[in-house]
Symmetry: C2
Subunit: 122 residues, 2 copies
């Protein structure tokens, strides 16, 4: 449970950066080398490597070095657990708001239309 | 587009903290005051207020002060956009992996079984 919490911390932290989200978008289309990932980002290779390390630590990305090229791949498990956490809470909120909507639709609008309303005075 | 990026940065940043995720879980069940939100967190009221401010800045939570009590509510729009961003990438990855699996299943396992294989030498 603690590990899962730590993982979600790292996954959401990794997704909080627009450059890292761009890397995820690129990797969703297929594996890429570190320098390919950096191409649209206009930053130093050292900065790109740091972002890749954050993505790897979160479990969103796995990489493998063959010769002088490090190839990165997306790992869908971490994406799935982040999506699952959000969708559970979102659907809980929506079900509650639906029930509230139904309740309000069934409740008479006038405040003195209920059974507790006093009879009109003469 | 820039605004949307900034929003996702803030939403994922807000979700990267376990205390703030606990607040979201509580608010998914219904509105709560700032002090109610802080109860399970064992932190100062000032720290709780700071977390609530991060949640409000991200759009995940809205709050309203009536008298001396600030009541917080979840706003499902920001949850939905974060979920949408993740699910789009996750389904792209899964479709690609499915196609790769189909390709591998249809491809003969032996490297020289294809039509391009040279005839055996005598």
């Amino acid at each position: 449970m603690l590990d899962q919490t730590a993982d979600l911390n790292r996954v959401f932290q990794a997704l909080a950066d627009p450059g890292r989200r761009l890397m995820i978008e690129r990797l969703a289309r297929g594996p890429a080398s570190v320098s390919e990932l950096g191409q649209p980002l206009h930053m130093s290779l050292a900065a790109v490597v740091q972002h890749v390390q954050v993505l790897e630590a979160s479990g969103l990305v796995k990489s493998q070095k063959v010769g002088r090229t490090r190839t990165c791949r997306i790992s869908p498990v971490a994406l799935r657990s982040a999506e699952h956490w959000i969708s559970e809470r979102r659907s809980l909120v929506e079900r509650r708001l639906d029930r509230l909507g139904e309740y309000l639709a069934e409740t008479p609008a006038s405040p003195d239309a209920g059974p507790e309303a006093p009879p009109p005075s003469h």
